[in-house]
């Protein structure tokens, strides 16, 4: 088990961009995306998002598990919503909903409207995921903090985020080590016995040592930081970032998209779309 952010996109076109680009792009993209309703628009955007994703050069083998998990969650999530909201959220009047089938026992309805919404919701999530992966796997280790700093975040918080990334692999291996240490004492982390309370309590042999241990260990980290002058006063960042022409172009492209999305939304051209073949 290795919990860490492998620099999968190393050397790719996006990896050569200023790390701020990847973060800005994703953020602007999301703002624009949530303006769109029409499943057809979302489908087109998804294609664009995928093209962008390909530029991150993330090898498929390395992330197929994440993608699988992601798609399943998206589906289940949107499916429940389709049943509950049954399309009402889509602004389709209840009167004209087309019921395709009723699901026992509660007689929940699966309507054409619901499914249409489900489709666009899934598309939307898939789009966001596609622009999110590069942020996770195509920003060089150690660049995240400085990138966020240059985007206006405070020095300390930027350092704190770098520190978080730094700690993850260490804590993950301590976590594994603790599981081993308890298994040797007959502890079974996969046991399914007992009620919810009992099962929650059974996390203690793992959670307590890892948590308390790392908090106790924090004393050394705090000393190590204080002793190198951290905390008081201004601070520089050694890693220099340059926002090149190409970086500007990428960001502008995303801004253009966002603007377009807003226009479509406000001129009412991107309403929820009822997939015709369902009716």
């Amino acid at each position: 088990m290795r919990a860490a952010f492998p620099y999968l996109g190393r050397g790719s076109w996006l990896a050569r961009r200023d790390p701020r680009v990847l973060i800005l792009a994703a953020a602007i993209f999301v703002v624009g995306l949530i303006q769109l309703r029409d499943a057809r628009h979302l489908a087109i955007v998804f294609v664009i998002a995928l093209a962008y994703y390909r530029l991150a050069g993330i090898p498929w083998r390395a992330v197929r598990v994440q993608w699988g998990y992601l798609l399943i969650v998206i589906f289940v999530f949107s499916f429940f919503n389709a049943i509950i909201s049954g399309g009402r959220a889509g602004g389709f009047a209840d009167a004209e909903t087309h019921v395709l089938l009723r699901i026992p026992p509660f007689g929940a309805e699966l309507t054409a409207e619901g499914i249409s919404l489900m489709v666009s919701q899934m598309l939307r999530f898939a789009c966001i995921a596609a622009v999110s992966f590069p942020v996770a796997f195509t920003i060089a280790p150690g660049d995240l903090g400085v990138a966020l700093r240059r985007l206006g975040l405070g020095d300390r918080i930027a350092v704190m985020i770098d520190l978080t990334i730094r700690f993850i692999p260490t804590l993950a291996s301590e976590f594994v080590e603790t599981i081993d240490a308890q298994r040797v004492r007959g502890y079974d982390p996969t046991a399914r016995r007992g009620g919810p309370i009992a099962r929650l309590r059974r996390a203690a042999p793992i959670f307590v040592p890892v948590t308390v241990g790392s908090i106790a260990g924090a004393e050394d980290t705090i000393d190590a930081m204080d002793l190198r002058g951290f905390g008081v006063g201004r601070r520089t960042w050694h890693r220099r970032l340059r926002f090149g022409t190409m970086d500007w172009l990428v960001v502008l492209a995303f801004v253009a998209f966002a603007v377009l999305a807003f226009v479509l939304a406000f001129t009412g051209r991107s309403r929820h779309y009822l997939l015709p073949f369902l009716v």
């Binding site: 994703a26 300390r156 993850i168 804590l171 959670f207």
Partner: protein
């Protein structure tokens, strides 16, 4: 006798080195536990997924204050989402909700600090704080109405808010006190 700058003495809102380090550890732990979850589905429900490590968030807030609580929940959830591949931009409002819950746990921790004499009663207050912080903090996820226009208020209430609050309040109520009780004696030793 020397008077010295002591992190723990500063206001519960100031961002000292100690706060930075505790927050980073909290966030990293929250992300890692999120990644290797001990989660299980509450018997008799489909979607109430109990995540023991949620109690870690309320503990960090309760024990180390609102700033640590917020950063643990917010950054921890963002990073955790990235680790699992579920890009944080999909669920930023969830990360925010976690952050707010941690923050509230911290505020309540400061408020309750005076009341609790024995570590036993502190553990009890920690459970209370954890539950309140969860119920209130996760109201934030109704921002989902903006993120996913497909979802109705009812949908969010029934498929997200209620299940998650039940699951997390449960985790907070059980796990937070355990961690408080384990941490109290250590705290005495590390005292500076």
């Amino acid at each position: 006798m020397t008077a010295t700058t002591m992190d723990q003495q500063d206001s519960s809102w100031s961002i000292t080195t100690r706060v930075i380090v505790y927050a980073a550890i909290g966030a990293a732990l929250y992300a890692v536990f999120n990644f290797i979850s001990f989660g299980f589905v509450l018997p008799g429900t489909q979607e109430v997924n109990v995540r023991p490590h949620y109690g870690l968030l309320t503990f960090f807030g309760f024990a180390f204050g609102p700033v640590v609580g917020f950063l643990t929940g917010f950054i921890g959830n963002v990073v955790g989402d990235f680790l699992t591949g579920w890009g944080a931009f999909t669920s930023w409002h969830w990360s925010l909700a976690n952050g707010v819950a941690g923050l509230l746990a911290g505020v309540l921790g400061v408020m309750f600090a005076g009341r609790a004499a024995s570590s036993g009663s502190r553990a009890l207050w920690a459970a209370v704080a954890g539950i309140i912080a969860t119920v209130v903090g996760f109201i934030v996820i109704f921002l989902g109405l903006v993120v996913t226009p497909e979802m109705s208020f009812n949908a969010i209430l029934t498929t997200e808010y209620i299940p998650v609050v039940i699951a997390n309040a449960l985790a907070a109520a059980v796990v937070t006190p355990i961690l408080v009780l384990a941490w109290e004696p250590m705290k005495e030793q590390l005292g500076r």
